[in-house]
């Protein structure tokens, strides 16, 4: 079975630009989460979507937005890029738990998209 896939694998942008990152969950998974991992730190939670609805949000500015499509794939959008947005962006998918809490289900992570902002 295919795991979580993310595209692109690497990306270079300049300050002020906009970026779109894409994620395809494992077949049958309806929940997708996004994380930012800066070098030397653990992943930081950005969003979780379940059935196309935002179910959880981390402490990120409004420049960060996401959406989930009917096929459960997801996009993460970042506007007005800053140097500090340079990081590995991870996507994780999970089976629906029926519960209200983010992350109660086991999350399966993708390889990430490495974004460099110059």
């Amino acid at each position: 079975d295919a795991g979580v896939t993310q595209s692109p694998t690497h990306l270079i942008k300049t300050r002020g630009q906009h970026v779109t990152l894409r994620c395809s969950p494992i077949s049958g998974h309806k929940s997708v989460s996004w994380y930012q991992q800066v070098l030397g730190q653990g992943p930081q939670f950005i969003f979780q979507y379940y059935e196309k609805e935002e179910r959880g949000r981390g402490n990120f500015p409004d420049r960060f937005s996401a959406r989930q499509f009917p096929n459960y794939s997801s996009e993460l959008n970042v506007n007005a890029l800053l140097l500090g947005d340079s990081a590995l962006y991870l996507c994780a998918s999970s089976l629906p738990s029926g519960g209200a809490l983010v992350g109660q289900e086991t999350q399966y992570f993708g390889p990430g998209t490495r974004l460099l902002v110059l």
Partner: protein, 113 residues
């Protein structure tokens, strides 16, 4: 602000040595707790998790973790490490009714053959 602390950033052990990695969190309410592992060149994967019940949780590959509520800790242990345990280990906390997931900064474990 909620936080997750992993005290050891880099641990070096010889094979067959015992392992204990510390994890402390700052949230005072009910929490769900996780340990994730990232092997070289691989994705993050779940090692074990605690939601409720027995505070001693067993995971894959002989790992276990103990939840001590009074100490806000969820330390990871393995009695005898192998070279294949070389990886980076992340502790994560989900405060109940908080809908936000917090990871620690990770501990790199290097097991010498």
């Amino acid at each position: 602000a909620q936080s997750v602390s992993q005290h050891n950033h880099h641990v070096i052990l010889s094979e067959a040595a015992s392992l204990e990695l510390g994890c402390n969190y700052s949230y005072g309410g009910t929490v769900n707790l996780f340990w994730y592992v990232q092997y070289p060149g691989q994705h993050l994967q779940l090692l074990l998790k605690y939601f409720s019940g027995d505070p001693l949780v067993k995971g894959i590959k002989g790992f276990e973790a103990e939840f001590i509520k009074s100490k806000f800790s969820f330390n990871l242990r393995k009695p005898s490490v192998q070279w294949s345990d070389t990886a980076e280990y992340f502790c994560a906390v989900l405060p109940y009714n908080f809908n936000k997931f917090y990871f620690g900064s990770g501990t790199k474990l290097n097991v010498k053959p």
